[in-house]
């Protein structure tokens, strides 16, 4: 085993440096900008793949820089980091392609791609953080980098959504900061340890429970756990690529990733169980799952429906973390990837409908399947996956969650999964049915791309097809050695090692 | 009067000065009140230099008073200049506007 220092830094720099370069690129230099961003995304993905191979063969990647008294900036790549960073790096490449086409001809593109890259850098920092302080630093940096994207359009509505976003996330960040400072004052450096860093310390249980609650609230804001989810539907005012990458992957996943880290690598499963904090977390997650689905059912605006669906689906990951036992944990972790693949597909498709036909509402989707068959095929696969229909990825997640819950005797979780599945079906199936089997009544609201070649521009079409296929493959090939499921099992094998 | 008497008078003057600065409205009165406060403080410093009959006075407080006087005079002068300037501005508002145009 060797320790390689530069790779985690390189992974972050691969998007940070091009991100900063974007800002100083003239607005009219489209070709250069496209080349720069795609090259950076490819480079980053390559570096991540190298790291992925290294970690699976036991290499240690770690950088440690002194930043504060008794608190270092630590980047450390472990299996869990890689799960998240691989997801974000792959989807960044696809989203970059998508964004190039989606934003074609709009203003402020240098700014957009600049902050977009900064977001991906912050996400990589969160994934690779080796202690709680580093995680917190990048978590706050992510807030700062996403704000400009939320308000990108500059309208009153966008600015209001931005204010709301900041009110939620910065408050959450401050709660988190206090929790981290408090915990640090009790136990010193907060480096993540598989099995829990608090195992080695004796601390008053009441304090630990309060700190746990603060940490979950802090991370729960970005993870959009009910009732901390208010910002997410409003943030849908952002352009589609932002909704896709940030609200399906980067921001909400950063929150839930933080919760996973806290439960497994800070408190540790044994301590968390003996403190009795996981039960309330599971209830918190379950309420979110059901409430998000109910609200999704009430939305007519497609992106809002997807947003509430995100609220619901991300809570599966928290649920899998809170329900003890390795099998449910696998279900939660693998859903981190599966939900990302499926939800980004849905957002890409929603963006295509809006961009090509001006469709923003579910009620306008009648017959759109015949007009845009490829887009709607991807949409249908992802929607079925969300419901949990085999053999798509979402089924694997739900299967493991249910199995895990039963194996530890938490039968009520099955009830939550059942209700959620019914609700998922209730808000996705009519959409899919209308798209394929109903006749369009009116002309499309605003048709902008001519039909002479394919249904829409290829750079808009390719990303959802790829992610849709990936969601299908992740389910079909779940037993394979390169699947997200296999990696989740690899992680769990480390966390549950006695 | 003994040294202590001067100290007491100085403190009374200082208190009157502070009262004046806080209560009086016109800037000129405030400036005068500050000078009374200053006189009080300097009187205290002059008085405390007395080390008793037959002994040389302590040079340090006297050095302080000299420096303090210079500072107080400069500040008062600056205050008066500023007051004149602001009165000028108020007397001739039209000049302001013409100046603004010149800037634009």
């Amino acid at each position: 085993m060797t320790t390689v220092q530069w790779l985690p830094l390189a992974v972050i720099s691969a998007s940070l440096v091009p991100g900063l370069m974007n800002f100083f690129l003239g607005e009219e230099r489209h070709g250069t900008r496209v080349a720069l961003n795609i090259a950076a995304a490819v480079l980053k993905l390559t570096l991540v793949v190298v790291m992925l191979a290294g970690v699976s063969s036991g290499e240690i990647y770690e950088v440690r820089v002194r930043l504060l008294p008794t608190a270092d900036l630590v980047l450390h790549a472990d299996a869990l980091s890689l799960l998240f960073v691989t997801l974000s790096a792959s989807l960044w490449l696809l989203t970059t392609l998508y964004a190039v086409a989606y934003l074609d001809g709009s203003s402020h593109r240098s700014r957009f791609f600049g902050f977009f890259s900064l977001c991906v850098s912050a996400t990589a920092g969160i994934a690779l953080a080796g202690n709680l302080l580093t995680l917190l630093l990048f978590y706050e940096a992510l807030t700062l980098a996403t704000y400009p994207l939320v308000v990108h359009r500059g309208t009153q509505e966008a600015l209001a959504a931005g204010r709301l976003y900041l009110a939620y996330t910065l408050s959450g960040g401050m709660v988190l900061l206090i929790a981290v400072a408090w915990l640090r004052s009790l136990v010193g450096p907060l480096d993540f340890v598989p099995g829990g860093l608090l195992r080695e310390h004796y601390v008053d249980a009441t304090k630990l429970v309060v700190i746990f609650a603060l940490l979950v609230i802090g991370f729960g804001v970005k993870a959009a756990l009910v009732p901390l989810h208010g910002w997410l539907p409003r943030a849908m005012v952002a352009p589609a690529p932002v909704s896709a990458l940030l609200h399906a992957v980067a921001v909400v996943k950063a929150g839930v990733f933080g919760i996973v880290r806290v439960v497994y690598d800070v408190y540790g499963i044994d301590l968390a169980q003996s403190l009795g904090v996981l039960g309330p977390l599971a209830v918190f997650a379950s309420v979110t799952i059901v409430w998000g689905s109910v609200r999704a059912l009430q939305q007519d605006e497609l992106k809002k429906r997807l947003a509430f669906s995100t609220v619901s689906q991300v809570a599966y990951i928290a649920l899998g973390t809170a329900v003890l036992g390795p099998i449910a944990t696998i279900g939660g972790l693998v859903h981190l990837v599966h939900q990302g693949l499926m939800k980004i597909t849905l957002f890409f498709c929603a963006g295509n409908l809006a961009e090509t036909l001006g469709i923003h509402h579910v009620s306008e989707m009648r017959g759109v399947g015949r007009r845009m068959p490829l887009t709607m095929t991807a949409f249908t696969v992802a929607a079925f996956g969300m419901i949990g229909i085999p053999p798509i990825a979402g089924f694997i997640s739900k299967w493991y969650l249910g199995l895990g819950a039963v194996s530890v005797g938490a039968h009520w979780v099955l009830g939550v999964l059942m209700i959620s599945t019914v609700l998922n079906a209730a808000y996705f199936l009519p959409t899919v049915y209308a798209a394929w089997f109903q006749e369009p009544e009116d002309p499309w609201p605003r048709e902008s791309v001519s039909t002479r070649t394919i249904e829409t521009r290829w750079m808009l079409l390719l990303p959802p097809l790829v992610t849709g296929a990936a969601a299908l493959a992740a389910g079909l090939l779940a037993g394979g050695s390169l699947s997200p499921l296999a990696w989740a099992q690899f992680i769990v094998a480390q966390e549950y090692r006695p | 009067m003994t040294g202590l008497g001067y100290v007491v008078v100085g403190l009374v003057l200082a208190a009157m000065g502070i009262w004046g600065v806080v209560v009086l409205a016109h800037p000129l009165r405030k400036l005068l009140a500050l000078n009374i406060l200053g006189s009080g403080v300097f009187l205290v410093l002059v008085a405390v230099a007395d080390r008793g009959a037959g002994q040389a006075v302590d040079p340090v407080p006297h050095a302080l008073v000299l420096t303090g006087l210079v500072v107080a005079v400069s500040a008062t002068a600056l205050g008066l200049v500023l007051m004149l300037r602001s009165d000028d501005d108020r007397a001739a508002p039209s000049r302001d506007q013409s100046d603004d145009k010149g800037v634009g």
Partner: protein, 490 residues
């Protein structure tokens, strides 16, 4: 006789003074004199910082006369930090001023360079002085130069604001002097290090200590004695606003720190200590709310100074507990520097906005702010540091204060930092949102481009404020409390 490193101490005071005189004598050469004098002063500061780093605190007796009649200069860690902050902000604001005054259709006002150099002289002398009376004189030099700069080339409101500033400053100085005089009566010395330890023990201290604290609080604009600050800082020319907000209020605070460092804080007792903290808390809340509702950009930035100065008075309660004293101390010094850099950057950037639009009414700026990303970044990054978000110097300072509050069990200050950060975020993002807002008026009133020499200084300072977030390990030894205490207590 070869010059030693300790000879740099008088140079740091004499060079800007000589340059100030030269700038008065040769008004047409003001810029050249200002820049050359500034660079030479900065060089002296670099030598002092180097000497301090290598050999620890440096002392120098002017003309070989010992204290109390002679003047002794001393450079410890705190002094070096102050000297470096002053030099950085002075130089960048000076470069900025080269083009800022161009817009008025001419050169900078004749007295700009002499007054700025005089201010620099006063600040350096203040940083290096160790006795209570010299400090009074230097504080007066700083105040008078500050008032002069504030009134410079201004009309109407600026003059009235400068006058109020002057009156408040005079009152503060005389209160301070009265306190020092009373202490001298009782203890017969003017050495801060000696006085601070015995001040609260004697009968005179009963009046003297409140006089000294009130005088310094008035100059440092601690709530509710801040009334003079917003108008003075908001109405001055932008480079002057930067100097006033980043440096001049810090001069008074520097003295507060000196007295505290010498031992005053330990004797104040728990009630007074918490009271000072409470005033700081009121400043944080009141200043932030006023910044949030201010109608003008520069007024908002000025109120932010009132708020940020409030944090610095948390030193008293947070450092009262011996276990957290060094953490709180490092946090406060960090905030002094981070705020100085960020606030100067924000005022310089605001000046660019003001110049490009001809006004700074926040309601009419949406979408029209400078197109160049440089000024936008300067505003954004300095805002990040003011809020205290990572990665920035402001974050490090806030983290240290938060740790001190938690470890000493003073949870009410944790709550204050929580509320203060969110309020700061609210007023900063109120400005930042304008950078992203679409223009509401389609009329073609595109702002003028600002010259690079105005944009780059603001960005440079903002980057420095952010970079400070990574500098803790390098500055740790400079900020270490025990050494300073040991040294000043002799």
């Amino acid at each position: 006789m070869p010059l030693g490193i300790d000879d740099a101490l008088p140079f740091a005071v004499v060079l800007p003074a000589v340059a100030a005189v030269a700038a008065v004598v040769m008004p047409h050469w003001g810029r050249a004199v200002g820049l050359v004098g500034g660079l030479m002063t900065a060089a002296a500061v670099v030598v002092i910082a180097f000497g301090n780093r290598v050999g620890g605190p440096i002392r120098y007796a002017l003309g070989g006369w010992p204290a109390p009649l002679g003047i002794e200069l001393a450079a410890d860690g705190l002094a070096v930090v102050m000297l470096a902050l002053v030099a950085t902000v002075m130089l960048t604001a000076g470069v900025y001023a080269l083009r800022y005054f161009d817009h008025d259709g001419g050169a900078e006002p004749a007295l700009f360079w002499p007054l700025a150099l005089l201010l620099w002289t006063g600040l350096n002398a203040l940083a290096l002085s160790a006795d209570a009376f010299n400090v009074y004189v230097t504080l007066e030099v700083v105040s008078l130069a500050g008032v002069g700069l504030c009134a410079l080339g201004g009309r109407g409101e600026a003059i009235v604001a400068a006058l109020r500033y002057l009156l408040a400053g005079m009152l503060a100085s005389l209160l301070y002097l009265l306190g020092v005089a009373l202490l001298y009566v009782e203890h017969g010395t003017l050495d801060i290090a000696t006085l601070a330890q015995v001040a609260v023990t004697g009968a005179a201290g009963f009046v003297a200590v409140p006089c000294i604290l009130a005088g310094l609080a008035l100059k440092a604009a601690l709530f509710p004695l801040h009334f003079w600050l917003p108008a003075a800082h908001a109405n001055a020319n932008a480079p002057v606003s930067a100097l006033l907000s980043a440096l001049v209020v810090k001069a008074a605070l520097y003295l507060v720190l000196r007295w505290w460092l010498a031992g005053l804080g330990m004797g104040l007792g728990p009630i007074l200590v918490q009271l000072l903290g409470a005033l700081g808390a009121a400043a944080v809340l009141w200043g932030s709310v006023q910044a949030l509702v201010a109608a003008r950009l520069k007024l908002s930035v000025a109120y932010s100074t009132v708020a940020q100065m409030g944090y610095l008075f948390l030193l008293f309660p947070l450092a009262a507990n011996p276990t957290t004293a060094s953490t709180a101390w490092a946090g406060i010094v960090y905030l002094v520097v981070a705020h100085g850099l960020a606030k100067a950057a924000l005022f310089l950037a605001s000046g660019s906005v003001l110049r490009a639009h001809g006004h700074d009414r926040l309601g009419e700026l949406a979408g029209l702010l400078p197109r160049s990303p440089i000024t936008k970044f300067a505003i954004g990054l300095s805002g990040v540091s003011l809020i205290g978000l990572p990665f920035s110097g402001g974050f490090v300072g806030k983290w240290l204060l938060l740790n001190a509050a938690i470890v000493s069990g003073q949870w009410w200050w944790v709550a204050l930092i929580f509320a203060g950060s969110l309020l700061a975020a609210a007023y900063v993002f109120r400005i930042v949102a304008l950078l992203f807002a679409q223009s509401e008026s389609p009329i073609d009133v595109a702002p003028q481009h600002s010259p690079m020499l105005m944009e780059l200084p603001a960005l440079g300072l903002a980057l420095a404020a952010v970079g400070l977030g990574f500098a803790y390990p390098a500055l740790e030894s400079t900020l270490a409390l025990p050494d300073m205490l040991g040294d000043h207590a002799r």
